[in-house]
Symmetry: C2
Subunit: 404 residues, 2 copies
């Protein structure tokens, strides 16, 4: 995959560097640093898992305090279930960055992804941070290297960029992400870092991020395998260096910014699901006619996570009975006689009754990389768009044949 040359450094006033500090036995890149030249407003969302890594504990505190200057991220070891020493290691990463770029340690967001239950080789990492600081802004491949350095079992780097006019000034948003399902050797982590030169107050930025991650087919609307990592982090830094009129809560500006951020998040989210472990198909589940938005989400998630639905798509089987089962078990109120099901453009079930359909046309749809499944519950205005994927032998191989 050819990456755009610049993404997280495309917005004004951001620099990045990445390299290998020696965490991964393979010698692959494992450390990335993103720095804003001036303090940036920050919004971040973290995993909902009750068991979280040390970087999440530290990151929650730091991002709640005020403007941020940098994100430091290693891959290979997740720094989860490592107790107070793990917290100290995460703080040491922040402290080293802070010393080097002359900011407070609390202005740095630490992230780690990889093996659970092991300590970070902190001397290697701090030495690596020193080298990356030297290289900041000097390497033209810094963005591509950064997208590479945060990966674990992903098969390809993930990056995206968007621009939008605020007044007559063009502002830019850039992002990198990682995530591939349950990442060997221990578990999946979804990380996404977004930079922008927009001038936007922190409360508005938080609103925009919340809307963007919860939008249809965005980060909170995808599932490779229903398992939730202990390290998930999505963070956006906005340093205001585009020099436009500040985005205020009134007018069209917040909407325009939120739309651009949402598009960027959707782009990265799709790159994540499309690189899900062992997958051969993306399943796009669209639910409409639910009594409420939460009901629509419940139904979409139940269908996207059903092993029965996932294996049917994998087997190119237009098995609408499995869809009906997964919808029915979702916990949302469902009236079978109002239910309509479509696979691609073909209606296979309408208002409670099976419809004769052209099986070969449906099988053609099922052979595509992306399989659209449309569910109309016929009971209200709640809707949702959710991304899932099929379940394959390769997924079992990736996750069963590894030994810790």
């Amino acid at each position: 995959m050819k990456l755009p040359i610049r993404h997280v450094t495309a917005p004004a006033g951001f620099r990045a560097a990445a390299g290998t500090c020696g965490i991964k036995p393979s010698g692959a890149p494992d450390l990335a640093l993103i720095v804003s030249d001036v303090p940036a407003r920050c919004a971040a969302v973290f995993t909902q898992n009750a068991v979280v890594g040390a970087p999440v504990i530290v990151g929650r505190k730091h991002t709640a305090r005020g403007p941020m200057r940098a994100i430091i991220c290693n891959s290979g070891i997740a720094n989860v279930a490592t107790g107070q020493r793990g917290i100290n290691d995460a703080l040491a990463m922040c402290g080293t960055v802070a010393k080097n770029i002359e900011c407070k340690p609390t202005e740095v967001l630490p992230c780690s992804t990889g093996v659970i239950g092991q300590r970070l080789p902190i001397e290697k990492i701090t030495a690596g941070i020193d080298r990356l600081t030297e290289a900041l802004g000097r390497n033209k491949r810094a963005d591509a290297d950064g997208a590479q350095a945060i990966l674990t079992t992903d098969t390809r780097p993930k990056a995206a960029r968007r621009s939008v006019n605020i007044g007559s000034t063009r502002i830019t948003l850039g992002g990198i992400a990682k995530g591939s399902g349950m990442i060997a050797p221990n578990m999946a982590t979804m990380l996404a870092f977004v930079t922008t030169d927009a001038d936007i107050a922190a409360p508005l930025l938080r609103q925009a991020l919340k809307a963007a991650v919860n939008a249809d087919a965005s980060f909170n609307r995808l599932s490779v395998d229903s398992d939730t990592s202990t390290s998930d982090t999505v963070a956006v830094l906005a340093n205001g260096m585009a020099g436009h009129r500040p985005i205020r809560s009134s007018g069209a500006d917040p909407r325009k910014f939120t739309e651009a951020l949402t598009e960027l998040c959707r782009d990265l989210a799709y790159q994540i699901i499309a690189d899900g472990e062992g997958i051969e198909h993306v399943i796009r589940v669209r639910v409409s006619g639910a009594r409420s938005q939460p009901d629509a989400l419940r139904v979409a998630r139940s269908v996207a996570d059903s092993p029965l639905v996932k294996t049917a798509v994998h087997g190119l089987d237009p098995n609408w009975g499995r869809l009906a089962m997964a919808i029915g078990k979702s916990g949302a109120p469902v009236k079978p006689d109002r239910l309509t099901l479509r696979i691609g453009r073909t209606t296979v079930f309408r208002r409670g009754a099976p419809r004769p359909f052209n099986a070969s046309a449906v099988r053609k749809t099922l052979k595509r990389f992306e399989v659209p499944i449309d569910i109309d519950l016929g009971s209200g205005k709640g809707s949702c768009e959710f991304l899932g994927c099929d379940l394959t032998r390769q997924y079992i191989t990736i996750n069963a044949d590894y030994h810790t």
Copy 2:
């Protein structure tokens, strides 16, 4: 597997017959009839899925009315998503049995399991019912044939029997069951039919069944793949023909009866999970120290249903990080620093910290058919025992390589 010669006909006053009426293309047995010579008190529980088969709709009404005389069950076609005509077919099954054994149609419980969205070949079935009625009580293999006739992709029949003294009289409980995960061609169904010659009032019988299906490691405490069938049914018929003093709500009798019924249900439940689609291991998840029983169940179910945990067990990998992840995502309140994890007898994680352990000893545990996982949340007295299984390539093959 050698079946006990009598199970559902072991209690006094029950007869059974089974055979082939021509629903399955394979010509395998597909119709079973269980009859009580006198009206029997009945308790039944049905699937929680919002989409249910016609037999479940009819069965709920019939079992709520009063005593029952018979259960009629076919395999091969589930009679789900078939509209009013499906209801009529289920009623026709009841009507044919009623005419033959001289009872009301509402005294018959109909059950069907198999393909969704197809109509039953009702003439074949009613002709089959006539033949089975003739054969009632004449065939010594009726019990074994009945256990066989309700199967779909199960690899073996499932049956069990228990006895207990009420006063000085021995009462008997017998049961047959089916279920194997997501059963080809469409979905799993768990069916269990229990007969007993106990004399017990319907409210007490319902209490006993509720306790039995919700007991540790019983029907409501197992999951092959987290998908819920549209046809699940567990029914118990108690005809009182043992001739003992009736079981009343006071004294030790209800407890003794409930214990025997619970043991029987656990026995059948274990036979179901042990025959789960493609499985190589049963996972027995024991949760203790939860703040409440519902929290314990939430944690146990999250662990047993986690693809990450299931593939780790399949890969013989003592990967406690995946256990911590699945516990944390359960939604129950979890304090990592109070959490202790054991695989077999080996403690791998104690109160928030990884413990050095003998990996080869744990791998020896993981190589056994049944893998015990013990989770102590250290926060209360809630506990739960739940049965799951590993996730294998064979499961994918069974569920993906079938084309409707």
